[in-house]
């Protein structure tokens, strides 16, 4: 290059970069005088917390929403909530992403000429009313299919069905627990999912039930199972789930061999039963020998014997079967045997509580969907309503439900995002989000929960209750003016002022429940257990459709936050993948990212492979939420879909798939990031040329209990929302440019056991990032934080290069957010622009807020007053935070726990994040 070209290029470059560096004008140019002051208690610039219920999954966890100037900006758990205990999972965090989802339905839509176009509510109601009339004249039944519905809306639906002349189809829920309900109906005459108290059992065996991912109430179960000290928790499953990874012992079953395990346990434990089965029942149960059970299940005889001995000698033993254990063939046998085991172990009526049954009683199964499909195909259905349910996605593809839907004269769908079912509808009615409408829920008997609006509807949406009331009003019936009014009237009738205030303050009310203790129906039990056939356990590869902690059954998958948060076991972020056992990978000669052509049961896909340590050979795993239509069969006895598919075909395509994964390595390579053995001596003498920092007032410190961390990612999701961390998308993730400030590193051992290491900025005392910053943007503050001053940062990235923990994130771009998702912004901290390094600072905005509050009250900050977003959301309270200068604080005692360590302590960085193992030792999930 000659001098001229060089200078020209230089001039152009400086010019253009200077131009592009010009920041857009400040947007807060105007101050607005409202017409009237905000209502009482709302102060502009101050946060208000609103207690409501999370509706992202059927569990019904308590949720508090932080409102800032009338805009929900953060959701958190409700401490002491009867369902969730205090945490909130990643999906609950993402419920705000649903509220502000740019693709949310905003206006009613009607199908015209094959496409959906926007229309008015008035037009929609007219069409429905005339559709109902025509159906009546034609003698066709109108059917209302809803997702799981309980509480006030269920009552209104029943009433409206009678008033408007439609019938309610059994509710549709993909994870319907149909086998459990059917077995309990036969054994005890209560076809319900009992409430499980997992805090009490000292020996717990879960068979297939993914307690930590999707099973009934994952946040509450996580809090309960991880809290107990000295508990022994065994988990049996064919594949490798997060639940299995966190159990004390993970038993790898041959796929489909659950009845072998449970029948043997029933035989083995019956002689010492606390509540024996009647001899007539016991005589019918197959009695495998120990050797046969060991052969059938593939679990060693000594392990089986140890498990039985533990259950026999336990004070409060419990066996739970569910999830994949009761999906497909043999589901009823497994659920029935588990119910019988609960009975003989004395758990039924104690830790298995039918009086406080989970509200699944009115939920149907896939068989009901098939029946509906047949009626549709025969032209017996007039108006078909489908609300909050996606049966097209979850019904087996060969049922051709989407095609059969056209058998209805008018198809009316209600939902928030366009899904496979809504795309087939003639009329699509947009429903308000749970944060835009009033609702009363009863997810469990004896518990009523409030859902209340935090923001006025962002689009022209309505609550389902309002839709029903309006239809009845147009039919000439005198009804409440709005669903809200109807709810208020019912609450006034039911509660006095004090109870109403309590309901409003906490967001829930517990009511006494009484039910006669369940009694075993000997005749029905004998016929159920007598029908148990110990299956011929087939050998050979299987494909497991695993329920996903991120996408649930697929409903949370459209929320981008759930793609940004990595899958706990594989750390894959965007896109589907197939988990492959290391032994199979060797056989197929593939490694991480290599694409496999998979086909099973009429379903095929090309998926990148991800090696899953600990996965049994011949077992392949695909997350249920990425399978766009259900490839399995349906068990005719229970209606459960088969999620373990036999004989999948797998072949290398020779291509490399697009699959970003965040973990550097599944192994620690002996570096002792999580020291093993835990008492390993470390060089602790720190030699530094710099004088130690003084921390006169506070020294903020975090203590993380690795034995309690289940890797669920709730902390990471909470961090995203609290700290305005941008979602960067798949392309950036593939370049290694993810922005998450907090990550969970799964470290596997050679036996397949795993430990999760939450890794966030360690706020080092001698921080390698600080001295290399040329502009003093990274510095140590007097409270022990490594503050990053964003407006001072010039983006040299020296700090990141010098950080041994890889916790600093660089903004390669300005991350534009599509409206209305841009409203989801914490105003307490700035949005970092392009060219700026960012990282965790222990939620310094929360520290400031707590200090501000304490100063108002003229007192020092109390221990536990500062709760970073990650610690707040953690279902198992694995993260403690506080002031090390306060000798009486919780962290001050936790950093002294025996075996407490700091990561890469030998570098002399003196991190402020301490890790410990609480009471337990040894890795979790060991087989």
């Amino acid at each position: 290059m000659d001098r001229r070209t060089f200078l020209q290029t230089l001039g152009l470059l400086t010019g253009s970069s200077a131009l592009s560096a010009c920041t857009p004008g400040e947007e807060r140019r105007r101050l607005v005088s409202a017409l009237v002051p905000p209502e009482d208690g709302v102060i502009p610039g101050q946060s208000v917390w609103h207690f409501t219920t999370c509706t992202e999954c059927p569990a019904g966890c308590g949720m508090q929403v932080r409102l800032r100037d009338g805009t929900p900006v953060k959701s958190e758990g409700v401490p002491g909530h009867p369902i969730s205990g205090g945490g909130l999972c990643a999906r609950g965090q993402a419920s705000l992403w649903r509220l502000y989802h740019p693709g949310r339905l905003r206006r009613p839509m009607v199908r015209e000429g094959g496409t959906l176009r926007e229309t008015t509510w008035d037009d929609a109601f007219t069409r429905i009313a005339s559709g109902l009339g025509e159906a009546r004249k034609a003698g066709r039944a109108s059917v209302y299919l809803s997702g799981r519905t309980h509480g006030a809306l269920a009552d209104l639906l029943d009433e409206s069905a009678a008033a408007l002349g439609f019938e309610r189809a059994p509710q549709f829920e993909p994870f319907s627990h149909a086998a459990i309900r059917r077995a309990n109906g036969l054994l005890f005459g209560v076809p319900e999912v009992p409430h499980l108290d997992l805090a009490r059992p000292d020996v717990l065996l879960s068979v297939g039930a993914d307690l930590l991912e999707t099973f009934v109430s994952p946040v509450g179960f996580a809090a309960q199972v991880m809290a107990g000290e000295g508990r022994s928790w065994w988990h049996a499953e064919p594949h490798y789930s997060l639940t299995g990874a966190n159990a004390d012992r993970r038993l790898v079953l041959r796929p489909g061999s659950e009845p072998w395990l449970l029948a043997w346990l029933l035989t083995r434990l019956s002689p010492t039963a606390r509540r024996p089965l009647p001899p007539s029942v016991l005589a019918t149960v197959p009695r495998p020998t120990l050797a046969a059970a060991a052969e059938g299940t593939g679990i060693g005889a000594d392990v089986l014997e140890a498990l039985a001995a533990a259950l026999a000698s336990a004070k409060d033993p419990l066996v739970v079967a569910g999830g994949l254990g009761t999906a497909g063939e043999g589901a009823l046998a497994t659920a029935g045997l588990a119910g019988a085991l609960q009975w003989i172990l004395g758990a039924t009526g104690r830790t298995v509580d039918f009086a406080r049954a989970e509200g699944f009683g009115a939920v149907g199964s896939l068989l009901d969907v098939r029946r509906l499909g047949e009626r549709l195909a025969r032209g017996q259905v007039g108006v078909l309503f489908v609300a909050r349910a996606n049966p097209v996605r979850h019904a087996p593809r060969d049922w051709e439900l989407a095609r059969k839907l056209s058998g209805a004269t008018l198809r009316v769908g209600m939902g928030d995002l366009l899904d496979e079912t809504l795309r087939e509808m003639d009329l699509v009615l947009p429903l308000s989000h749970a944060l835009e409408a009033w609702e009363e829920l009863a997810p469990r008997r004896g518990l009523r929960q409030l859902v209340r609006p935090a923001i006025s509807p962002l689009g022209d949406t309505r609550a389902e209750g309002d839709v029903l009331l309006e239809l009845r009003r147009r039919a000439g019936e005198p009804v409440a003016r709005s669903y809200q009014e109807r709810l208020m009237v019912s609450w006034r009738a039911r509660y006095d002022d004090a109870a109403l205030r309590a309901l409003s303050a906490a967001g829930y009310v517990e009511e006494p429940v009484s039910a006669p203790p369940p009694a075993l129906d000997a005749a029905a039990a004998a016929s159920l257990l007598g029908a148990v056939r110990l299956p011929e356990v087939a050998r050979g590869p299987v494909l497991v459709l695993a329920p996903s902690i991120r996408g649930f059954d697929g409903r949370s998958r459209p929320l981008q936050l759930m793609e940004e948060i990595p899958d706990p076991l594989t750390t894959v972020t965007y896109g589907p993948w197939i988990s492959v056992a290391p032994a199979d990978a060797k056989r197929l000669q593939i490694t991480d990212g290599d694409e496999l052509a998979v086909s099973a049961g009429g379903w095929s896909a090309e998926l990148p492979a991800r090696l899953q340590p600990g996965l049994a050979e011949g077992v392949f795993m695909v997350q249920r939420d990425v399978v766009a239509s259900f490839p399995g069969d349906v068990d005719p006895a229970t209606g459960e879909g088969t999620c373990v598919l036999r004989g999948p075909k797998l072949a290398r395509t020779g291509r490399t798939g697009r699959m970003p994964w965040l973990s550097g390595s599944p192994s620690q390579h002996g570096r002792g990031l999580i020291p093993d053995p835990i008492h390993r001596k470390k060089p602790t003498e720190v030699v530094s040329l710099y004088a130690p920092h003084a921390h006169p007032e506070h020294r903020w410190t975090m203590a993380i209990d690795v034995s309690r961390c289940i890797g669920c990612g709730a902390c990471a999701a909470a961090c995203y929302v609290e700290n305005n961390v941008p979602a960067t998308g798949a392309d950036e993730h593939l370049r290694g440019r993810e922005m998450s400030w907090l990550r969970l590193e799964p470290f596997y051992d050679t036996a397949g056991g795993v430990d999760f290491l939450p890794m966030l900025c360690q706020q080092c005392h001698y921080a390698p990032c600080e001295p290399v910053c040329p502009v003093y943007a990274a510095y140590h503050n007097p409270e022990g934080l490594n503050v990053q001053v964003y407006n001072r940062c010039i983006g040299t990235r020296y700090c990141s290069n010098n950080c041994p923990y890889k916790v600093r994130r660089f903004n390669w771009w300005d991350h534009r957010v599509e409206a209305p998702l841009d409203r989801l912004r914490n105003p307490d901290l700035s949005i970092r622009g392009r060219g700026v390094m960012e990282k965790c600072t222990f939620c310094v905005q929360r520290i400031t807020a707590a200090k501000d509050h304490a100063k108002d009250e003229g007192r020092p900050v109390r221990d536990g007053e500062v709760v970073p977003a990650c610690a707040q959301s953690c279902p198992t309270t694995a993260i403690a935070f506080g002031d090390l200068n306060d000798a009486s604080s919780r962290v001050a005692s936790l950093v002294k726990v025996a075996g407490s360590w700091r990561v890469l302590e030998e570098l002399g960085t003196e991190p402020s994040v301490h890790y410990h193992r609480g009471g337990s030792s040894g890795r979790k999930g060991e087989p």
């Binding site: 200078l7 807060r28 009237v36 102060i43 510095y779 307490d828 901290l829 100063k855």
Partner: protein
């Protein structure tokens, strides 16, 4: 390239280069001038006289800017607050009629901002008021201003100066998060 051509093109190149940098100098100068000219005392949709309210009537600042002592933002009052008096008082004044027009149209008044710190600064009125800082320390003698204008620079150096003399925190994280 011939030797002769080289000298001519060299001259032209030199000129172009000088022109290029001159252009930048001019642009920078224009930017500086524009920054100077951003109004320190912008015209408001209603010419609200602080001289009467805060001056002659001596109404305390926090009577209208009610959130200054309890929130990060001092906020401007809602129009219903204005109307508590102007339902009956000074109805003949043109500016009051303007106000009543906004209320009748149910239209919020959008005032031009006079004082503003950049978005990367976390400023809270509450702490400053509670620490006994007089409003005038940052806003000047508003009671004597017919049209509110900015009299303090509101730059970091100016903030820090006061923080130093009063012993307030000077840790970066106190204002920059």
């Amino acid at each position: 390239v011939t030797p002769g051509g080289s000298s001519t093109s060299g001259r032209i190149g030199g000129l172009a280069l000088a022109g290029w940098f001159a252009l930048w100098l001019v642009a920078l100068g224009a930017l500086a001038a524009w920054r100077q000219s951003t109004p320190l005392a912008p015209a408001q949709p209603i010419a609200f006289p602080h001289t009467i309210h805060a001056g002659r009537l001596a109404i305390p600042c926090t009577f209208c800017h009610v959130n200054a002592s309890r929130s990060p933002s001092a906020t401007v009052p809602a129009l219903s607050v204005c109307m508590t008096c102007h339902e009956t008082i000074a109805l003949d004044r043109p500016e009051v009629q303007k106000l009543r027009g906004y209320v009748a149209r149910k239209e919020p008044v959008q005032w031009e901002r006079v004082h503003q710190v950049p978005s990367f600064v976390r400023f809270t009125h509450k702490r400053h008021i509670k620490a006994g800082v007089d409003c005038a320390a940052c806003h000047g003698g508003v009671a004597q201003m017919a049209r509110v204008q900015r009299v303090r620079p509101l730059t970091m150096g100016w903030c820090i100066g006061c923080h130093r003399t009063r012993g307030a925190p000077t840790d970066c994280a106190a204002c920059h998060v």
